[in-house]
């Protein structure tokens, strides 16, 4: 609740023309938005551009935010849509199949379950697998697993019902289980 009130206060100051207030907002959410973009897009440079674009869009559209949901839900919505637009523009699915290691190429020898859990390759494996999911499933599972949003918050962010959120997350996990296969 306090975080929500803090955001409202910052937004009021930004609307009054305070750039330091907007910078404070950027610093508050930059890691969350960048992390979300990395898992939505995989490529760090594209993710950085998408994250920057998210904040620029938020700045120009702040007057459209009416407080119907939490500010971070509104910001995540912009981020998800920006990432989906970026993906469509760059046809990243085709590129990622050529340049990123295929899920099958990730080594699974040795104590694979423990190794995956302990190493950074877990993130890379998940990123690669996420790129193979349909956009809607990927957005829902990233918001749940990486950002820890509730089903209701995910529904607000993606403008879908809680029932649809449940369904997408279940299907995403089933698909990831199939893609990550013997590594689980």
């Amino acid at each position: 609740m306090k975080a929500f009130a803090d955001d409202i206060d910052l937004i009021k100051r930004i609307e009054d023309g305070s750039r330091p207030a907007f910078e404070e907002l950027v610093r508050k959410y930059q890691d969350k938005i960048y992390n979300l973009c990395c898992y939505m897009l995989h490529d760090p440079d594209t993710a950085r551009d998408a994250a920057q674009e998210t904040f620029l869009k938020a700045y120009s559209r702040l007057k459209d935010f009416r407080g119907e949901c939490a500010f971070y839900s509104w910001l995540y919505r912009i981020a998800v849509n920006t990432c989906l637009d970026e993906k469509r523009k760059s046809h990243e699915v085709t590129d990622s199949m050529e340049t990123t290691p295929a899920v099958e190429d990730i080594p699974s020898s040795g104590p694979s379950a423990e190794r995956l859990y302990q190493s950074k390759e877990t993130g890379r494996a998940i990123q690669a697998a996420l790129q193979k999911l349909p956009d809607g499933l990927r957005a829902a599972i990233v918001l749940k697993e990486m950002e820890g949003l509730s089903y209701e918050e995910i529904g607000d962010t993606l403008a879908i019902s809680v029932g649809t959120v449940k369904s997408r997350i279940s299907r995403a996990r089933e698909e990831l289980r199939r893609l990550l296969g013997g590594r689980i």
Partner: protein, 159 residues
């Protein structure tokens, strides 16, 4: 409850999103169903993988770059607004310039007429009239004005 219904509840259970009555049904089923329990463990493993995955932090200077873009965008917006204003204005300005020139010319003509009219009217003394006539006379532009050396010579030559 059927296993097919329970399996739909596995993800919400892992995410603590089950309503209390659903939770009761789910846990009692899971306790007695190895197949559903195995499904639950597989979904939990996916959930745990994400928990161990790297959390990316924004690159150094990210906020500074965003603010720089904000400033650039605002300046560009202001510049384009000014440019649009100047793009429209030359036509308007040209019209204004022509109108202004015409007005100045008109003022010049009217004031000149008034000045000449005033000076050559009956209000002036004859001496003043003579001066005005001579001032506005084109005799000044003659090759040999009467009171010039040439003019004197021409008179003498004519005599």
């Amino acid at each position: 409850m059927k296993c097919s219904q329970i399996r739909k509840m596995i993800s919400p259970y892992v995410d603590n999103e089950l309503a209390p009555d659903e939770l009761k049904l789910f846990t009692s089923h899971i306790q007695g169903c190895p197949a559903c329990k195995e499904e639950l463990e597989k979904i939990r493993s996916i959930h745990q993988l994400f928990a161990c995955a790297e959390r990316f932090e924004a690159p150094l200077g990210f906020a500074t770059r965003v603010m720089a873009h904000v400033e650039e965008t605002e300046e560009a917006g202001l510049f384009s607004r000014i440019r649009r204003l100047f793009a429209i204005r030359p036509l308007f300005l040209r019209t204004l310039e022509v109108a202004f020139a015409l007005v100045i010319m008109l003022i010049g003509v009217v004031s000149g007429n008034l000045l000449v009219g005033d000076r050559t009217s009956g209000n002036m003394t004859s001496g003043t009239q003579t001066v005005v006539r001579e001032t506005f006379s084109l005799d000044l532009f003659q090759a040999t004005p009467p009171d010039s050396i040439g003019g004197v010579y021409m008179r003498l030559a004519g005599d």
